[in-house]
Symmetry: C2
Subunit: 136 residues, 2 copies
Amino acid sequence: MTLSTPFPPPGSKAELEEGSTLSPRFGADGLVTCITTDVATGEILMVAHMNAGALARTLETGEAWYWSRSRGELWHKGATSGQVQTVLEMRIDCDQDALLLKVKVAGDGGCCHTGRRSCFYRKMEITDGKPRLVVD
Amino acid sequence: MTLSTPFPPPGSKAELEEGSTLSPRFGADGLVTCITTDVATGEILMVAHMNAGALARTLETGEAWYWSRSRGELWHKGATSGQVQTVLEMRIDCDQDALLLKVKVAGDGGCCHTGRRSCFYRKMEITDGKPRLVVD
């Protein structure tokens, strides 16, 4: 497998939005945003990023690979924790700069590094005109 | 209302992850990623970005404001289309660099500039080892 970009550069607006060609619009940092949800419940589990190599490996292996911005390396999610994500469906948005993965999580089913199932474990509440985060 | 950052800078890792203080980690471009879902169905409608001003206005008004990267301006979603998003719930992720909005969409209920309800109207399929986008 080659890790050079295996995706054609974005074409016209019409091709990008209505065409059948996958041509992700990687940002200046080489990344697209990726939202990962639980295929069974629809719950949003995490938001991460992919570069071309991570997207290629995800497509090839059927398991989620991301680009770790903090570590600066390809990240096979679950390789150490056992929380491997099997990808059942992948979608892309209108202008091809955001991906949506629907996954089944192995191991204990967790996703967040804090040990929780989802990274979105806090809700905002407004108290006395000020936002406050509440775990729920 | 002041449009200077009304949010305290991120504290320690423990405060960021477990605390009740909203201190978004805006990127070098001043933005955080925002996922918007339909509060009734859980469907993912769009991915956009917020700067501090957009987040402040969203919290103040209860309607979704974003930062338009293409136009370089604050964007009151639906101001021209009528597809205003009333925010019923807001969540933030573990390291406070991604937001989740659960909204009710006014007007015709659309969200995507192509006229569709959701921006994620294409699924990836692998045919002969090559990814292909299919509207479904």
